[in-house]
Amino acid sequence: MNKVRLMGERVMERFLMICALISIISVLFMTVFIFKEGLPLFKHVGVADFLFGSQWDPQGDNPLFGILPFIVGSIMVTAFSMVIAVPIGLAVGIFMAEFAKGRIADVLRSVIELLAGIPSVIYGLFGYIAIAPVVRSLTSSNTGLGILTGAIVLAIMVLPTIINITEVSLRAVPSHLKEGSMGVGASHWQTIVKILVPAASSGITAGVILAMGRSIGETMAVLMVAGNSPTMPRGLLSSARTLTMNIATGISYASGDHWISLFTTGMVLFVFILVLNIVVQVFLKRSIEKDS
């Protein structure tokens, strides 16, 4: 009996171990594969020409592989999506953690969960049909498709991430800090601003960076609403292409160096995501240390 149970435990442990290994190996494989496919581009194209060139004409007689417009596009779309999503997400997160009660809180929570579960292509459709026309009618943009529209769509997409992490981080602040603050006559709002949010700031920052990672990596939704022109963006209303869009656009017809350059673009994206993840780890670790 005892022996059987011991066996069972061992098998279970092995199984979990193997699952863990599989996930590590997949990440390794992905990294190796993308770099193996992408690096050969640098035999024909200089690293600086690739990263800082602003002309993209992979199929011309004299092909040009400058992805700077896409790097700028990715950064602009992501940055503006954060400018929109962070204040709203923080506000809703604070509301959920400190004010929402009863039915309103329940309804709000299920709506946010739903928001998190909607496929990105649906966000794309929504942006195309609902947001782009509004942008077109309110601004000088001809199509309504561009960085601003992409950023709005992405902002809605990443809201649940920011809201959830803000709420969870605020709830994790020990209640005796709140009592200490209210106990010297601080109002609820003063307590939130001066004690709760600062105490939750590492967690909230990690959430924002996580959302940034989602935003910069999102492909389908922006592909549908950002215009996809392979030139240097000239402003908020300008049509633009991001790194992810560049890969998705080329994948159906590219060949030769153009094909390879898609993987090289993937490498750059990969590095972006990697850096963001490392930053998240640092912040999460700091928030855990602060709690203990």
């Binding site: 005796h176 200490g180 209210m182 010297v184 602060k290």
Partner: protein, 251 residues
Amino acid sequence: MATMIEVRKLDLHYGDFKALHGIDMEIEENEVTALIGPSGCGKSTFIRTINRMNDLIDSVRIDGEIYYGGENIYDDRYDVIELRKRIGMVFQKPNPFPMSIYDNIAYGPRIHGKKNKAELDILVEKSLHHAALWDEVKDRIHSPAMGLSGGQQQRLCLARTLAVEPDVVLMDEPTSALDPVSTAKIEDLVHELKKDYTIVIVTHNMQQAGRISDRTAFFLNGYIEEFGTTDQIFFNPVSSKTEAYISGKFG
């Protein structure tokens, strides 16, 4: 000597559970009033009603009155912020904010609109002196409060409360997380402070109640079983239950 706080027929419910039954009590100015009783009898619940800290708990419902400065603090129009400024609280577990010693103490005054640096400096020093912590921290008042020992943190919390210049200080088992030396320091302090403040203190420690308080209320199952001068409660209790509790037979 005047009555500072008058509690009249106070009932408190947590949802359906009635935690306080018809509490009547007078808290006298410049005295120490001790609240004793077995665990779960409602001491914390009661002390928190005096500065309306129970407002933070959604399920709480309160009936009855508490008069302070001639007004019922449970009146709808009563200013809770002002109340908590006048009636401060020190909690069971030291709860310094994750900021510097200085900022912890300046927190309350700043909230209430004191911005002048020189004034704040004076107030911080005065409060630390009052809480008998100045000598230990004067060289590092801009370092994090979390770096202090438990006993120092508790005195810091006391200083933080004193910095808003209250009339009344409520203390819920302020020494239960502390070592004997720190406990003795807090007890000495309570003795000092009652010259300037009115103090209500919850304690599990009978000797402590006997040493530091002028009046004692013995709580049992949400009722006040007996309330009187500490001498009377300890040496001449009317209720047999009080006598049994004081002599350590239960609780």
